[in-house]
Amino acid sequence: MLEARRIAKRFGPVVALADVSVEFHDREVHAVLGENGAGKSTLMNILYGLIRPDAGQVVLDGRALRLRRPMDAHAAGIAMVHQHFMLVEDFTVAENLMLGHLDVGWWLPRSAVRRRAREAARRFALDVDPDRRVEELSVGQRQRVEILKALLREAHTFILDEPTGVLSPDDAQQLFESLRRLRNRGARILFISHKLNEVMAIADRVTVLRRGRRIITESADRATPESLAQQMVGRPLGEFVRPPAPSSGDAVLELRNVSSARGHVALRDVSLVVRSGEIVGIAGVDGNGQTELARMVLGLDRPEAGDVRLFDPDGGRIEPAPRAVAHIADDRRREALVLNMSLAENAVLKHHTDATFSRRGWLNRRAIASHAAQLVREFDIRPASPFVAAASLSGGNQQRLVIGRELAAGRGLVLAVNPTRGLDVASTDFVHRRLSERAANGCGVLLISADLDEILRLVDRIYVIHSGRLTESRRAGDPARPTHDTAEIARLMAGLPPDCGGRT
């Protein structure tokens, strides 16, 4: 049994963990649930020797461990599969597996490692070719390499930090299969997540953390997604569902037969309309032309054929340009923020040349600070200091900053690309409410998301994108409350033709 005993940790004034005790049994998958900032990563990092606790002990089979570095954890059979994989991309799988086994001689034991990798792969459904280079592997395969690394180090405790966040549904299923097999052979698996459905599917027991405290540890059979969500957030939380608001307003964005072979995926004859007051969703598996479509709407790429039209509230045509659209970018850390600049500087980044914020090339510091302070208040960004670096904000707070900045500029079109990826329940809810509010205030919202649930909850109309082609999926059924046909959307996402036989 691995025990965290009365662990406490502060970072400056912030209490990350306060007197947390958890027991992790052998032969179990133990999920640790919590919102961003609840302390689950801190706890895992303590168990892995990356962070030293201020108080408390880590006890393995009755023996207190001294965990000062990850090496100490390895020696105790504790391994971690990081969210951002710790692999050398330029190396083969086998080379990655050999790295850091300092106990063997000078020459690289290539054939032995290959053999052991194949053996472990077969036993635990972790198939991956040891001679492939990591950069050629898919995300799911890379994760398998990480698990293999831990196995070859003879780990007994596996810590997985949000392992499914980046996986396709199929890869996630395969991961679960591997984890079950590992557990059945006696391994102890610590599974960090905030996806409730997954936790219910794989975990034997669940621990919920909130604001650095342990709220509950219980058997997964006894928990329900609703009860867990409530314990995570601290209050009952109905999932936000936006009532459909079909719009007959003016178009704010119109694409007519747009084609372009630029980018990784060619857009082919794409037509779409977004009217003021509505949210239009684009569903699809990542990498089917979403990036290319977004660039087109932002005016970053010009169509080779067809037409992209953007309209201001008076119906006049405006040139598509990044500054003409409120853009909630896919990768906020790279596309939306300059992480080394302050919150205040980021808050005006796209609009710093506006007369409010600068004159004749000189920045108006006071106006910028007061604008930032207003965003901080309105969008509940923490820490509430305009001068902290954007890099030091949590993911949820970074996204609040981006949304605050983009929505404050008052553009007619909002383009949101995977706006809740990596966010916890409360931040996701916040983002959904803001987007919905914008639509109610007369904006047109184009929501491109790989999360079909998100789309179904928010949008009025759905297009599915596959291999650069758009297909509209219309509501059907009861005319009073028409619903989307999710089976049809799934077929379109997979590139299959819509079910023609079903409707006549």
Partner: protein, 302 residues
Amino acid sequence: MNDVTVPELVASTLHRGVQAAVPLALAANGELIAERAGLLNIGIEGVMLIGALGGVASAWWTGSAVAGLIGAALAGALAALLFALWTVAWRRDQVVTGLAINLLAFGLTGVAVQRLDRFAESHGSTFVAPPLPMPAGIDPLATLTLLVVAVTHVAIFCTRPGLTLRAVGENPEAADTAGIRVALVRFIAAAVGGALVGLAGGALSVGMTHRFQEFMTGGRGFLALALVIFGRWSPIGVAIAACFFGLLDALQVTLQPTLGDAVHLLYPALVALPYVLTLVALAGVTGRARAPAALATPYDPR
């Protein structure tokens, strides 16, 4: 050109080419080792210069050219450790630190050699290195260089320390979580690489001119920097590139007398030829070569 036969001309050109290639190959291999660990030491010219001076100084002091070469390597290693102290221990910018080392080395070696000249004179001696022994007519430096290239190549690609080195240069974070001490590996790589760069300087001074002159490296360090890219971060590739440029350099010397009066016009162009070709080749080659992913990036484990 009257009494020299063509085979003789070819032989002398080849000989001169090898001589020119030796310091280039040594320096480029030293830089390569550092770069494989993620350290871009553009102070290589300065390190080489320090090695050249350290080499002559120790050869003069001990009266042995071999001791001179060892001294050159030690001086280079120390200069490179200075670089590592700034960039690894204190995480300062590698380009700025490299520039500083160059300027420091240009100035310091100039001042030092004047003092050493006077010091040697006051002892009734001259500040020069004795010639290297040539057992059985084998060029010891060329042989050493071949050995260094072969050992480096095998070590980097076939041994555990090589894998560790490459991992640190590609993804220090992954190396760290695998239990590798990134800073230590970088210090060692800097020292070993610096020793080779210093040895390259020693090959110029102790091995060829037997004395130290200000700026005697004449841009060979910077050329070596380009050769690492040229040879795609592989020791054998780098050695081939060094031979190519060594030969080019020798050819330029051989061709000079045949040009007659045009020499005044063409001499500068000929001297520039290796560098111009470097530029041309780099423009075409770098697009396909891949540098270590963490090159010139400090690692801060927090």
